[in-house]
């Protein structure tokens, strides 16, 4: 029964694909129209943070990873994508409250549109990283790069899966806006962003990998930084985590979405 509901919901999202594109276009437009340097600003923030992390962890706290800069770059942008999407989820529905109070449409379209517009920016960041690493680290294009698109798809699904409950909760509880930055700051330390997942002691490893973001970041490190293809088990686990998260949270979202217009 839940399966049929899910298919119905996904179908209605597809019916509203025109709205989805209109929203994606406007998200990008709003962002780039109002600032002179446009895309430069989007890139500057993560590049600046990544540079600071690289300087600190190669010179001050010396993390023993060869070519640390390359390691950090291979996962940092993916982390940044996730963090920004989660953050956007707290205000997206509220921002479009007037529209939701005037027209009945599946509100997950709003969430998906912000994720897609961020995804476009992330794709550019990721491509640049892959080019830089291919040239300066690998000296060739590693065959494992071919698996990156699949990785991005899995991350997109996971991202939506984490955004949906955050967005739904934000509608009802203003507290979420205050709690989320703390959650993101914590996630930054318990995910392998500036250190490798192998650093985690064996006894913690099982618990550590319950964090779905940790699994995905590890896959980014392997395919882009190490230039190796992760094992089938690793792929399977990451895919299962992403899909399961999405399916569970989407059905919860569907259960509450009809109440949003009243509260917004």
């Amino acid at each position: 029964m839940i399966g049929a509901q899910m298919i119905g919901s996904l179908r209605s999202v597809y019916r509203y694909r025109e709205l989805l594109w209109a929203l994606v276009l406007r998200n990008l437009k709003v962002k780039y129209q109002s600032s002179l340097l446009g895309f430069f600003w989007t890139m500057l923030n993560p590049i600046l943070t990544a540079s600071v992390l690289i300087v600190v962890f190669t010179n001050v706290v010396k993390i023993q990873i060869p070519n640390y800069w390359a390691f950090l770059m291979s996962g940092y942008f993916a982390w940044n994508f996730m963090a920004q999407c989660l953050n956007a989820a707290t205000y997206t529905l509220g921002e479009h409250g007037p529209l939701a109070r005037s027209i009945a449409f599946p509100q997950e379209v709003l969430i998906i549109s912000t994720t897609i517009s961020r995804l476009i920016e992330f794709t550019v960041e990721l491509l640049l990283t892959m080019i830089v690493l291919a040239v300066a680290l690998h000296g060739r294009v590693p065959p494992s790069y071919a698996a990156v698109p699949l990785l991005v798809v899995l991350q997109f699904i996971l991202c939506l899966g984490l955004q949906l409950p955050v967005a739904a909760l934000s509608v009802f509880f203003k507290d979420v806006q205050h709690a989320l930055p703390i959650a993101i700051a914590t996630l930054f330390y318990v995910s392998p962003v500036f250190y490798a997942a192998d650093f985690v002691p064996d006894w913690m490893h099982e618990v550590y990998l319950l964090n779905p973001i940790a699994r995905l970041l590890t896959l980014y490190h392997e395919t882009i930084y190490k230039g190796m293809l992760p094992s089938v088990e690793e792929w399977g686990a990451a895919a299962a985590f992403s899909l399961l998260t999405f399916l569970v949270t989407y059905s919860i979202f569907n259960r509450y979405k009809h109440l949003f217009a009243e509260v917004l």
Binding site: W21, L23, E95, P98, A100, I103, A261
Partner: protein, 246 residues
């Protein structure tokens, strides 16, 4: 018998009134811990047992004092609020102008808002483009169409909102106090356009306090009072009865 465009069967709507909106998380905890309804909210019946249907091509006015449930029933019909009981059946595409601004995003230009609004109504890009000149022409806001909506006057917002809703050529049109916003000229043009819509067989449901307009535009009126239907009938009869009591 003619086909019903809108059918409301025993529709009721219950809201929860939050006395202290900001404490809702605390309230939820209390409710979970005590396993009972916390005292901070109380249910409020905005609509109870609403039964009526509107035939295709009919122009119906909803009249009544503030808080009688007129706007709520429009929202339930539009599918924005789920009914707490009963059901609404629609046949045809519905467009609504339910509040000033009609869901426009203040930071976006008129053009962008039209694109999003049209898409949310289910139009394709091509359909929106085909209607764009018509919308621009009717809204009569000139080059302001390229300016963020937050710089519009309230009359301009109302004009654009109305223009979009009427130009998407819906089968059913819901209007909530739209005609009272603009100036005389705009009001006259709206009425003219609504007549055309009516002649083409469009179904119309409008909320208004302006009984003159109601008598002019509609053939039937529903008088709502305290979330229920008090009287339903020929427009002049209902309007007279309403005036006699007010």
């Amino acid at each position: 018998m003619e086909h019903a465009a809108v059918r409301c069967a025993a529709v009721s709507k219950r809201f929860r009134i939050y006395e202290q909106r900001a404490t809702s998380l605390r309230e939820t905890f209390i409710r979970i811990l005590l396993r009972k309804q916390a005292l901070l909210t109380r249910p409020y019946f905005a609509l109870s047992d609403i039964d009526f249907s509107v035939r295709q091509g009919e122009a119906v006015a909803l009249i009544g004092t503030n808080g009688s449930g007129k706007s709520t029933i429009l929202r339930v019909i539009a599918g924005i609020y789920p009914p707490s009981g009963g059901a609404v059946q629609l046949s045809g595409r519905l467009a609504a102008v339910l509040e000033l601004g009609a869901g426009f995003h203040p930071d976006l230009t008129g053009t962008e808002n039209v694109a999003i609004y049209g898409a949310a109504l289910g139009l394709t890009r091509r359909e929106i483009r085909a209607r764009f000149d018509d919308i621009l022409d009717f809204a009569d806001i000139g080059e302001f169409i390229g300016t963020p909506v937050k710089y519009y006057s309230s009359g301009m917002v109302a004009r654009l909102a109305f223009a979009v809703a009427i130009c998407v050529e819906p089968d059913i049109l819901l209007l909530d106090e739209v005609l009272s916003v603009g100036d005389e000229t705009f009001r006259d043009r709206c009425i003219e356009r609504l007549r055309l819509f009516h002649q083409r067989g469009g179904t119309m449901l409008l909320v208004s306090h302006d009984l003159e307009t109601v008598r002019e535009m509609c053939t039937r009126a529903i008088w709502m009072s305290q979330g229920g239907v008090r009287m339903d009938g020929e427009v002049n009869e209902v309007a007279d009865a309403y005036l006699a009591l007010a």
